[in-house]
């Protein structure tokens, strides 16, 4: 278009995301002047009211930040508090944590793939509408999701806000016989997971690549319940240096804080970052699935995050089966975590990316300060930049189609808006 023209796109209620958000785009001529992902989820002030609570309380309390990934909150909280108290939870107890977390990855990824994201590729407003034409597919997704929930229910007591997680481990650990039925369910789920990879690999993906740095945990195993933060540019740092390397700042239009890497800038955390930095730590079956999906050493197309998630589901099931197979019940369900004065930092890989917690404790174990940096706020600047570039390359679309594509671009990231924030409002102004 050669004539000068101004457009404002304003999507006021983003659907199929968790939490509440909106999008605002202003275009002048061929220049995208402003892009805002507006997270208007009401603030809930967790970091403020954690002060004065006992060091045993954050796993139950911070779980309530997000109903979709409570185990992530519980795990990062436990690890931070254990670090503050000089306690390490490893061996079979850490493996059980990883197993519970695998349940959450399966459940959360299956929810995102089938109920939130796939309808975009197939042109349906949601999974229920999609089920009218593709009932078997949606049923497969629900089965997969249920398999994850079953793991969480067995190990955690329930799937949303599990009750069996405590600082130092668990209240009760399962017997081998109790875990055994899970293996049967997971073996069946593996077929569904591989079918998911094949199915998603057939979607039509826009040609688009992101230029951001990556941030994910790394370690001996594909990162889930812990590890060392590392960037795509090769920098790695201990969890207790997180806030020196990642700085958060507030923007006027959002209740979520934006994060940047020091000296760098925007970065991405989540499936694309994990895969890029840890591909060689996938299980053979998951690597096969990645090949099946056509994924290379890394994937820089956010629209293909659905493929990486599908591969991660295969991995999480495979890994859960391995953990169950190797399980020897620990002699006690938790290690004691006597309080002491100090500060602890904890990280883990929520389905949407790195989740950092810090707690400062006094000598009685009461919390004097808390800091929580969720993945969505870390990704927010990168999402906005993607939108800016995506809109610039899609100006030929009419407003309605452009708005739809933008919503899809946001859903690529599975933004969990409850943790920081559910909404996209797109208004277009032309002159």
């Amino acid at each position: 278009m050669t004539h000068r023209h101004d457009r404002t796109l304003n999507v006021g209620a983003l659907a199929r995301v968790e939490g509440e958000g909106a999008m605002y785009v202003r275009v002048r001529g061929t220049r995208v002047e402003e892009v805002r992902l507006d997270i208007y989820e009401p603030p809930r002030f967790f970091e403020a009211f954690l002060r004065g609570r006992a060091h045993t309380e954050p796993p139950d309390i911070t779980a309530r930040i997000c109903g979709i990934c409570p185990v992530a909150y519980q795990t990062s909280a436990c690890r931070a508090i254990e670090a503050a108290c000089g306690v390490t939870v490893d061996g079979p107890l850490n493996d059980l944590r990883r197993l519970l977390y695998c349940g959450e990855w399966i459940e959360s990824h299956a929810l995102h793939i089938y109920l939130l994201h796939a309808p975009d590729f197939l042109g349906y407003p949601g999974a229920v509408e999609m089920a009218r034409d593709h009932r078997d597919v949606v049923q497969r997704g629900l089965r997969l999701k249920k398999a994850g929930n079953t793991v969480m229910e067995m190990l955690g007591g329930r799937a949303i806000h599990p009750v069996n997680v405590r600082v130092g481990g668990f209240y009760r650990v399962p017997s081998r016989a109790e875990l055994e039925p899970l293996a049967g369910i997971l073996r069946a789920a593996l077929d569904d997971a591989l079918a998911t990879v094949r199915w998603a690999a057939g979607f039509d993906f826009p040609d688009f690549t992101h230029p951001h740095d990556h941030l994910a945990l790394t370690g001996d195993r594909y990162p889930i319940e812990g590890g060392t933060p590392r960037t795509g540019s090769g920098r790695s740092f201990a969890p207790d240096a997180f806030e020196r390397h990642v700085t958060e700042h507030q923007v006027p239009y959002s209740t979520a804080l934006h994060a940047r890497l020091d000296g760098g800038g925007r970065y991405l955390t989540g499936p694309l970052a994990r895969y890029a930095l840890n591909r060689d730590r996938l299980s053979p079956l998951a690597l096969e699935a990645a090949a099946l999906a056509g994924l290379g050493a890394e994937c820089r197309n956010p629209f293909q995050s659905i493929l990486v998630r599908a591969v991660e589901v295969v991995y999480a099931i495979d890994e859960a089966l391995r953990l169950i197979g190797a399980y020897e019940p620990p002699d006690r369900p938790s290690v004691p975590v006597p309080p002491r004065e100090g500060t602890g930092h904890g990280v883990s890989e929520a389905p949407r990316g790195l989740l950092y917690h810090r707690y400062a404790l006094d000598a009685a174990g009461l919390i004097t300060a808390a800091r929580i940096v969720p993945p969505t706020s870390q990704n927010q600047a990168a999402i906005e930049e993607d939108l800016r570039r995506f809109v610039a390359g899609s100006l030929h679309l009419d407003d309605e189609r452009l708005a739809r594509r933008c919503e899809q671009a946001i859903r690529n990231y599975d933004p969990c808006i409850s943790c920081s924030t559910h909404f996209l409002d797109l208004t277009v102004e032309r002159s």
Binding site: P42, I65, C66, G126, R158, H422
Partner: protein, 263 residues
């Protein structure tokens, strides 16, 4: 009523999404339910939104911003039946901890520029703003109870949600009382049933996520008689009563205050 099926809407206010997720977690029932009702407004699941009025609205979350105070009135106007789901919507949720503090100070802890954040000094349950037809307790709500409530309203009867305490569920489940056998502090005796007594089955005391049980004929359980059993310091008792149902456990907290040793 388009297509003649009852129309269901799901709304979110300040919350963690866990209670509405409970609906999507009904994996075995979801598609069948979607065949029997028209899911007319459920942003978490679909971007197809049909205008009201709606036969049943499920409301998650508490009212904590000026805009939400207006929005809940609108939701009430366009809903024939309004059911609140979860501790946030029925009691203000964990975010009601601000009600006992200075919200500006809270905002300054979380945000460098608190003036950008529009928020109310108190987080309040839906019933504080509009008439509510039924309140389903829990943080999160229980899937089976949600299905019972939906079925009941679709059939036009009252939901059969017993209001006895978690203790009854322990007995039914055959769990040995953790308080009697192990001296573990447990809020089971004063907490509303519904979860199936999960915590004691996993070896811990109930921490009250379903909120207070009204017990029989609306009378509160005898918390005063229970407190010595809890074997906790007054601070610990106050903390355990100050979580997801902090405003609903107000009476119990006040009893605890009465018992405080003089400073």
């Amino acid at each position: 009523m388009a297509e003649g099926r009852p129309r269901l809407a799901v709304w979110k206010f300040a919350s963690c999404d866990g209670c509405q997720l409970t609906l999507l977690d009904c994996e075995d029932e979801l598609l069948e339910l979607a065949g029997q009702v028209e899911i007319a407004h459920f942003l978490e699941a679909s971007d197809a939104v049909a205008d009201g009025p709606y036969d049943v609205s499920l409301v998650e979350g508490s009212v904590s911003t000026p805009a939400d105070r207006e929005r809940i009135r609108h939701v009430r106007e366009i809903s024939r039946t309004l059911v609140t789901i979860g501790a946030c919507a029925t009691a203000g949720g964990v975010q009601a901890l601000r009600n006992f503090a200075d919200v500006r100070e809270f905002a300054s802890v979380v945000y460098a520029r608190p003036e950008y954040v529009a928020t109310l000094a108190r987080s309040t349950p839906i019933a504080a703003h509009v008439p509510v037809d039924f309140e389903l307790q829990g943080c999160p709500i229980d899937r089976r109870q949600l299905l019972e409530v939906l079925t009941a309203f679709l059939l036009g009867r009252r939901p059969d949600i017993p209001d006895h305490s978690v203790c009854f569920e322990c007995k039914r489940r055959g769990t040995v009382c953790v308080m009697v056998a192990k001296g573990t502090p447990c809020l089971g005796p004063i907490t509303h049933a519904g979860c199936g007594a999960i915590c004691p089955a996993y070896g811990r005391g109930c921490y009250g996520c379903f909120g207070p049980s009204p017990a029989w004929s609306g009378a509160r359980p005898n918390t005063r008689a229970l407190l010595p059993w809890l074997d906790m310091t007054p601070d610990e008792t106050r903390r355990v009563l100050s979580t997801f149902n902090v405003t609903a456990f107000r009476e119990e907290r006040e009893e605890e205050q009465d018992h405080d040793p003089p400073a």
